[in-house]
């Protein structure tokens, strides 16, 4: 459930979980070091990143044309293409296709796009059961839980918890131990029977090649390949930003992705398929092209680079904020730094209004991104946009910012009530403070007077620490774990002028 206070409130809950923090620290630091090793062994890593960035930038410039080329290529290869403007449309299309195939059950390849649109719940409403086949996704599904990491969706769970889940839910899981091999074997037996008996699979896509109509799924377990090859019907739901123009572009992307994601030189299971092939694989193939806010992002010249993301999650692993809070605090299927710029653009600024502030702008994400998304700049851009809309919206501040109404985005307006009022007051106070500071700093005389007043105030606050700590707002927040700095006897400029006078 979304916390009314957004990221800061959800983060507070996550921070209170000491075990989660230890797990995340170990996990993120391990993968960080491995990624550095995997990327530093290539002499041309920086050129590869630049190549990746250029492919994405060029593609976005003519996304409409590439998508039409993709559609023609998929049709020519015997597939069917569906266009979905929003989540509801995509869910409806998939449900109809499943029903037309006469199925009541589908197996799924790990797909964040289908999590984004809430496909499993939408299918359940239609009486269709969707079973996740990625091990971590299966664990989350059995637990009724959501993903907390793009690549390691169950990063927040330990194996004892997984054993308990399997014991409760998997056929023959009753006497299971928490030995990882035994857990994997139990999942394998369960999933194999599903692979062989389920006629419809739903997948996402890492890439789709416009010129050939080839779809590419990158995964580690081989369960994805079972889904894309065994069932009669394969339905792929893909965000429109995943298209690349040429097959050769995969040569760059498939080097960037595994090293950034799992620190592997080569990805274990890379499945590519082009339409349908007689007597091999699915007999019908459907590609659902999903917009759901992406063309809104595309229209923003600064924000659009968020669409370049190849979902490697390197930015999550290096982020000092994600490392402390984990993914659930971002309240989105896209957590971490990339989530902080993607969610507000896809789901609307109102829904993600606190996310652009969930960063110290330390820049670690930008350095790690394999396609060089300048996440700090997009964060600044979105902060400015939220503040601007807050102003335009009659003084409601960032809290009341009207969401960019992305197609199919879940509206959360009205759920805030009292919180909204408080946020509005805080935003108005912040706006006034910022303006005052800018005006004061705008003239040297005003600035000098404010400096003097500031030093006096600071001295007073330091002499009254208990009162200061009890203050609401920034002072109380600062002094909860930090001392205020000492007020110096004179400012730098006072010293400078004195020195100038003396030397004359």
């Amino acid at each position: 459930m979304a916390a009314a206070g957004g990221f800061p409130e959800a983060a507070r809950a996550a921070l209170a979980d000491a075990q989660l923090r230890r797990n995340l620290h170990v996990a993120t630091h391990t993968i960080r070091e491995k990624r550095l090793r995997a990327t530093s062994e290539l002499d041309d890593w920086e050129q590869l990143r630049e190549a990746g960035r250029r492919i994405k930038e060029r593609t976005m410039r003519h996304l409409d044309r590439h998508l039409e080329t993709l559609e023609r290529s998929v049709l020519a290869a015997g597939g069917v293409v569906h266009w979905a403007a929003d989540a509801a449309a995509a869910n409806r299309i998939v449900a109809e296709l499943v029903r037309a195939a006469g199925a009541r059950e589908v197996i799924k390849v790990k797909s964040i796009a289908t999590d984004e649109i809430g496909l499993n719940a939408a299918l359940a409403e239609q009486g269709i059961r969707a079973v996740e086949t990625d091990l971590a996704e299966l664990i989350n599904q059995l637990a009724g839980d959501t993903s907390s990491h793009i690549l390691v969706p169950a990063i927040h769970r330990n194996r004892a918890e997984i054993r308990d889940l399997f014991r409760a839910h998997l056929p023959g899981g009753a006497g299971l131990s928490d030995d990882p091999a035994a857990l994997v074997e139990a999942a394998r037996a369960y999933l194999r029977s599903l692979f062989l008996s389920t006629p419809v699979a739903v997948s996402g896509a890492n890439f789709a090649v416009a010129e050939t109509g080839t779809v590419c799924v990158v995964e580690s377990e081989g369960n994805g390949r079972m889904c894309t090859t065994l069932p009669d019907t394969l339905i792929t739901v893909m965000g429109i930003e995943k298209v690349v123009p040429r097959l050769a572009d995969l040569g760059v992307m498939l080097q960037l992705l595994p090293r950034s994601a799992t620190a592997e030189r080569m990805n274990p299971y890379t499945s590519l398929w082009t339409g349908v092939t007689p007597a091999d694989g699915p007999r019908s193939f459907h590609l659902v092209l999903l917009d759901a806010g992406r063309t809104n992002a595309l229209a923003d010249p600064v924000g659009r680079q968020a669409l370049h993301c190849i979902r490697c999650s390197a930015c999550l692993n290096v982020c000092p904020v994600y490392e402390r809070t984990g993914g659930h605090a971002y309240e989105s299927v896209y957590p971490g730094p990339i989530g902080a710029i993607l969610t507000p653009q896809l789901a609307g600024l109102e829904r993600g209004r606190t996310l652009p502030w969930a960063s110290t702008l330390c820049g670690a994400c930008y350095d790690a991104c394999p396609v060089k998304i300048d996440i700090p700049s997009v964060l600044l851009h979105l902060r400015a946009e939220i503040v601007r809309r807050g102003r335009a919206g009659g003084g409601s501040g960032d809290a009341g910012a009207a969401g960019r109404d992305a197609g199919g985005a879940v509206a959360v307006a009205g759920a805030r009530g009292h919180e909204g009022g408080r946020n509005r007051r805080e935003a108005a106070a912040e706006r006034a403070t910022m303006r005052l500071a800018a005006v004061v700093m705008g003239g040297p005389l005003r600035y000098r007077l404010a400096q003097r007043a500031g030093r006096v105030t600071l001295g007073w606050l330091r002499r009254h620490p208990r009162l200061t700590r009890a203050l609401p707002g920034p002072l109380g927040a600062w002094t909860s774990v930090r001392e205020l700095p000492e007020a110096p006897e004179q400012s730098f400029r006072a010293w400078w002028h004195e020195r100038q006078r003396r030397s004359r």
Partner: protein, 248 residues
């Protein structure tokens, strides 16, 4: 060289010793330092908080104070993040403003603004500034110096050349301290968790003094160190470099 000092509002108001030390080091190396008194704040806080139009006022103020930079061979500041704001964001703010005059001034001015350590090592080619500082010191690489300005090991080169210093390693050095301007109060709990880890690493290092390029990071880390009564002091890099007698 004729050097304009950009002391930063935080340095001017709360940490004047960093500015004084910057003047001292530059003068000791034979340069002339001037302090344009019209300077106030670079606008980083406004820009980072989403108040671009308020930041633009301060960009104009900065340009009024320093002109187009022609009056100086270089402008130097004891701060990585303020210099990063000028060098990396002023161009965008000026071009968004549509003011061609401002754009011109900023395009000339911004490339002349340097953080102290990158100026000393990268521009002047100096590593030994004749300092003496007989203390166990740990260096925290501030994020903007490290990843925006790319000062690299310039601060460490300067520190290694200081006589009497014992430089110790900071574990997980490149992790942000959790300040992030208004982040520290908007996301106070996450910031506190990051600070707690940074303070723990500083203590692990066994240092008596923690140094950095930015007064802001030092204010944050120092505030945490003081609250926990660790006895570890924070001292700006410029002060260590200015120290000739070791009594800072």
């Amino acid at each position: 060289m004729r050097i304009g000092l950009f002391v930063t509002c935080l340095g001017d108001t709360l940490f004047p010793e960093a500015g004084r030390a910057t003047v001292e080091v530059l003068e000791r190396l034979g340069h002339t330092v001037d302090f344009p008194a019209a300077q106030t704040c670079c606008g980083q806080m406004h820009l980072n908080s989403g108040y671009a139009d308020d930041a633009l006022r301060l960009v104009r103020g900065f340009v009024r104070a320093f002109g187009d930079g022609e009056g100086f061979d270089a402008i130097v500041a004891p701060s990585g993040s303020c210099v990063a704001t000028v060098r990396h964001h002023y161009g965008v703010l000026a071009s968004d403003s549509g003011d061609a005059g401002l754009q011109r001034a900023v395009s000339r001015l911004a490339p002349r603004v340097f953080e102290l350590s990158e100026f000393l090592v990268g521009r002047l080619g100096v590593e030994d500034v004749g300092a003496y500082f007989p203390h166990r010191v740990v260096y925290h690489p501030s994020c903007h110096g490290l990843r925006v300005l790319r000062v690299g090991d310039a601060p460490l080169r300067l520190l290694r050349a200081v006589r009497g210093i014992e430089l110790v390693e900071l574990p997980e050095a490149d992790s942000c301290c959790g300040f992030g301007g208004t982040f520290a109060v908007k996301n106070a709990d996450v910031s506190a968790a990051m600070l707690a880890d940074k303070v723990a690493r500083v203590l692990e290092s066994g240092a008596e003094v923690c140094t950095a390029l930015d007064c802001s990071c030092l204010m944050h880390i120092g505030g945490g160190l003081a609250r926990q009564r660790t006895g570890v002091r924070t001292v700006h890099l410029a002060e260590i470099l200015a120290s000739a007698t070791g009594d800072r």
